[in-house]
C-alpha cells in the first residue's frame, strides 16, 4: 500500500500541491484526474521520488519511501519518457534490468516483437506512438508492485490502448499490482479504474470509488415548448446546467427517480434520463463547485 500523507510541494513561492493525502491499495487501479496544471504530474513525481516534497511524506508498505530500500517496488512511466540518441528496446531493457531483476529478457523480447516493434531499432527512428507503446510494454514487463502512469494513453492507437489496458488488468490480477494513472482520457479511466482522485489547484477535491460517486449523480436532457430560464430549476440540486434555446441538459445530485419527479413539475415536452459518465463527475467537480461525498 502506498500512503501519501499531507503532501506539500512548492515551486518557489507557488504551492503546487497542498496537503494532499491518498491511499493506493494493492491491486487497486486509481485514476488521477484534473485540469491542466492541477498538480497530477507533480504528485506522481513526488511519489516516484523525482521531486522531494516540502512537507508530508510518502510511505510504501508502511515504510518511508526510500529509493534504496523500496524504490524498486515502484515503476514510474512519465508523460514524455526520455531516451538517449542510441537507445533501442534492448538498451532500455539493459538499464531497467539493473533495478528491476524480475523483468524477463525472453518475455520482453517476445512482447516487443508481438507488438510489431524491432528490439534493435533506435527509438529516435520510431514514431511517437511506437515509442509510447514500447515504454508501455516495458512498464508491464517490469511487473512492479506499484505502477505510476502519467498520460499513459497519449499517442497509442486504439489497438495498442486496448492491449495496454488489458495488460494492466492482467498485471493487477496476477501480480496484485496497484496502478495510479493520471490521464485526461476519462473514458479510458472509467473503463478500468475502480477508484479515482480528482485534483484541482493542488488539492484533492474529490475521491472515492468511481461507481459510488457516479450513483450520486443523475443526468437529464429536457426539451420545452415554451421559453425557459435557469430560474426554473432554482430549487433543484443542479451541479451542471447547459441550455441551448429550449433544450436543457442537467446534471443533478441525488437519486435519479426523485429528481425525475421534481423535473416533471417543470412541464417539459420531452424528458430523457442519460447515463452519468466520468466526464460529468469531472465537470461537476471542477465547474459546479463540488459534489458532496
Amino acid at each position: 500500500m502506498i500512503e501519501v500523507k499531507n503532501l506539500t510541494k512548492k515551486f518557489g513561492k507557488t504551492e503546487v500541491l497542498s496537503d494532499v493525502s491518498l491511499t493506493l491499495n494493492e491491486g487497486g487501479v486509481m485514476g488521477l484526474v484534473g485540469v491542466n496544471g492541477a498538480g497530477k504530474s507533480t504528485l506522481l513525481r513526488v511519489i516516484s521520488g523525482v521531486y522531494t516534497p516540502d512537507g508530508g511524506c510518502v510511505t510504501v508498505d508502511g515504510e518511508p519511501r526510500d529509493p534504496d530500500k523500496n524504490g524498486n517496488k515502484i515503476f514510474f512511466l512519465p508523460d514524455d519518457p526520455y531516451y538517449d540518441y542510441s537507445t533501442n528496446a534492448m538498451k532500455l531493457f539493459d538499464l531497467y534490468k539493473v533495478f528491476y531483476p524480475r523483468i524477463d529478457r525472453e518475455a520482453y523480447v517476445k512482447a516487443v516483437s508481438d507488438a510489431g516493434l524491432d528490439p534493435k531499432k533506435p527509438l529516435r527512428a520510431c514514431s511517437k506512438g511506437m515509442r509510447r507503446q514500447l515504454f508501455a510494454l516495458l512498464a508491464l514487463q517490469v511487473r512492479p508492485k506499484y505502477l505510476l502512469l502519467d498520460e499513459a494513453f497519449d499517442g497509442l492507437d486504439v489497438r495498442a490502448r486496448a492491449q495496454f489496458v488489458r495488460g494492466l488488468g492482467e498485471l493487477a490480477d496476477r501480480e496484485g499490482t496497484a496502478v495510479l494513472v493520471a490521464s485526461h482520457s476519462l473514458r479510458e479511466l472509467s473503463d478500468f479504474c475502480d477508484s479515482y482522485v480528482l485534483i484541482d489547484g493542488g488539492r484533492i477535491v474529490s475521491e472515492g470509488a468511481l461507481d459510488e460517486q457516479l450513483e450520486k449523480l443523475c443526468r437529464f436532457s429536457l426539451a420545452y415548448d415554451h421559453e425557459i430560464g435557469r430560474a426554473l430549476f432554482a430549487g433543484l440540486p443542479v451541479v451542471h446546467f447547459a441550455q441551448e434555446g429550449r433544450f436543457v441538459r442537467l446534471l443533478l445530485k441525488g437519486n435519479a427517480d426523485d429528481m425525475e419527479k421534481l423535473l416533471e413539475k417543470t412541464l417539459p415536452a420531452v424528458m430523457e434520463r442519460r447515463e452519468v459518465r466520468f466526464e460529468d463527475l469531472f465537470i461537476g467537480e471542477t465547474e459546479g463547485g463540488g459534489i458532496e461525498p
Binding site: G49, D68, P78
Partner: protein
Amino acid sequence: MTVFFRYYLYRLKKSLILFAVLSGALLVCELANGVDLIDSFIQIPVIFRDNRILSANNAIREILKFYFFAAAALSFILPVAVLSPFKKSRARDPFYALPLGARKKAAAHLLAGLTVYTALFVVFAPYHLLRDAGEIGKTGAAGGLLFAVFLEYLCGVGLYFINSFFFSFASTPFDGAVGIVLWHAVPYALGGFIRSLFFLFPDVTDGLVSFFGNRAEPKQFRFFYPLTQIYRNSAYSLSGIDRVLLPAPADPLFYGLFIGFSLAAAILFFILLPAYKTENNGSVSSSFMSYKTLIPLNGLLFVGGFRYGFRIPVTLILMLAGYVIYRRGFRLRAPDILWLCCAVALSAVLVFVLSQHPLKTL
C-alpha cells in the same frame, strides 16, 4: 551483486563510447602536437636551460606534458559528461525515478568517470613506452617518471572532484561547464587582485607582502597550480638539472590548499546532493554558487587586478556577456545592472587613483 555495483557496471559500459572518443582525441592531440598548443593557454611553464628551451631528455618532458594535458582536460570533460544526466530537463523524470538514491547514483557515475580517466592514463603507457623507452632508459629516470605521472594522475583526480562539485550547482549541463570555468577564474583573479593591492597600498600591505612574498602571483592562485609544479619540477629534476638553478620551489601551502579543496569538494558534493531540487533542471541556474555570485565576483576581482590594464574593458564586456548567458537573453535584472555599475565605478576609481599614482601603471 548490489544494485549500486550493477548500475556502476552499466554506466561503465555506457562510457565505452566516451572512452573511445576521448582516447582518439588525446591521440590526435599527441600526434598533431596539440598538447604543445595549450602550453600558453593553461600556462604550462616552459623549461629553460642556458636560456634555451630544454631539449635534453625531451621525451621525458613530452610525456609529462601529455599527462599534464590529459589530467587537466579530462578533469574538466569527464565530470561534465558523467554528471550531465543529473541536469538534463527532459531526462529528469526517468532518471531520477530509477530506484537508487541520489548519492549512490552519483557515486556510480563518478566512479565510472574515474575508471575512464584511469583507463585513459593506462592505455597510453604502452604507446609512450614503445616510443620513448630508449631515451628514458638512457637517463635511468624511469622510476621517477612513473612517480611523476602518478602524481599528475592524482592531481587530475583532485581536480575531477573539485570540478564535479562546481558542476553540481548548475541547472543545465552547459551552465555546469561554464560554472567550472568561472570557478577556476576566481582564485586566479584573486591572486591578481591581491597583487594589485600590494602595488596600490604598499605601506598598508607591507606585512602582507612579506607574508605572501612571491606567492601573490595569479598563476599560483590556481587550482592547476600543483599540476604545473609537478610537471615543472619533475621535468627539471628528471632532466638532471642542478636543483640550485631551479626557480622557487613548489609551495606546500598551495599543495595543502589543493588537497583540502579536493577532499572538501568530494565530501560536500555528496552532502549537498540530496538538497538539489530536480524541478530546477533546465531552468536558469539561480544558485548562489553559480552565475549569481561568480559573475560579479570575477568581474570585480579582475577589474581590481588592474595590473594588466587591458583587462578592465575586456572584463566589463565579459561581465555583460555573462549576464546575458545567465539570463538567457538581454532582459537583465536590477541586481545584474547594479553589479555591472559597480564594476564600471570601480574601474573609474582605479583609473583615477592610478593617474595620481607615481608609477602610473595604466
